[in-house]
Amino acid sequence: MRTRTAILLSLLTLTTVVGAASSLPKGNDLGAPTVRSQEGAEALRIEGERRFQANCGRCHAAPHKFPPRMMATIVRHMRVRATITEQDMRLVLYYMSR
């Protein structure tokens, strides 16, 4: 019974999430089509800045923002050099490339 309920709930949630996602605009940038998405993007940016200050800011000031492809390489380099956790790395990358 519990398994069936779990499957049902998961399918329902999956449908909801996919439906919500499909309502988002296509494209790969932060086009921020809705107010809610903009808020989400801003929350991520703020969290990314906080993680930047906590990790990278311990050694150096924030550089200017490079194109995303460069930042992806630089952040991978710094992940190894400064032993940054994966979560922090992703948020820093988000912050530094937007």
Binding site: S10, R69, T73
Partner: protein, 401 residues
Amino acid sequence: MIVSHELQARDLCRGSAHHYLGYLTNHNEPITIRIDHCEARRVLGGFLNTSTHNLTSGFAHFVAIGILGSFATVVVAQTPQNDRPVPILTGNAGYFTTVDAARYELVPEVNPVLLLPLGDKWLVESRGRFYGEFERPANNQPYGGKIEKDLNYLQADYIADPHLTVTVGRFLTPFGIYNERLYPIWIRDLHQVPLIFPLESGSSDGIMLRGGFPLASWANLNYATYYSTLTTNETLDSDRAVGARAGMFFGRPRIEVGSSWKKLLMEDRNNSFGFHFAWQPPPIPLNLRAEYARSNYGSGYWIEGAYRFSQIPRWNKAMRRTEFVGRMQQFFAGEDQESEGDQYTLPHGATQQPDFGMNYYLKDGLKASASYGRWLGKHNWNVWTFGVAWRFAVPLGRVTD
């Protein structure tokens, strides 16, 4: 895997789902996360409030996996293609003048760093150092000297796991924080390296395991452990040794503490120990760092504070670019210092040196520095340093599709 999901669901419940959405994807490319925790709560509805506080039942696990997996699917589907990493030539260049005991020395240097990402999990990286030390002879002849070159590291990194990176090749020895993190001339606050730097500096040839992971929402653990083989080649010189370093970073007070250990596996089987500390008190633009190191060649410490004048309202445009630095350090000679200390360029005998300096950040990656220090050892003298340092980064491929 279940543990990961537990973590994510727990944090999702705490309202920080975006920390972990990318985590599930097992995908090392950068991701675009469009769903913040508010949306997650909206989508998940009351489930988060009722079930994920206690994810001990199989049912909760199952549902959490399903939900988070579907999030991950959405996230991956939105991964931007133009975030693929591109090879980069970066590094720094500088020109410094040092007046050491009334002896002038001009030191131009270039430290190129090549970063070559391969696929999702590999990075090949290398740093060289080309520098000159030009001195004016006592008889007032023109400056003379020669260009030296070093290979600091040439390593292949394999990101095996979110918590583990395997490095092979020649790498910077992970001992303390100065050698790996503060050494580049555009980063270091004072151009003069600490007296104990030779105890921790250098490169190793071998294999290293390193990584970091959150222990809790308020603390991250980072670690590095390595084995280095003996290499007598002049360019790739290294000792046979093993060592490790571990550090804890506490996010709220922004404090990092850690310790290092190294054991030589040669005729000399000495142990070296070190401790490091860093603190950035959140409301103040102050950076405090300290290290202690001890080996048979000697022991010592340095403690350094760097303060940005960004909180001073008057002339703020200039003040926020200005940094004042102070450092105190001491070195105590060890029992082997007289016999073998010279090869590590350590001071002869007990020495202390206070330093003060100013940095002015002209623009991103470009700074001008000046510092004064007083060497207090068997003999005393002044140490002045002036110069500029510049960091550069050039893509070696297309940065847009």
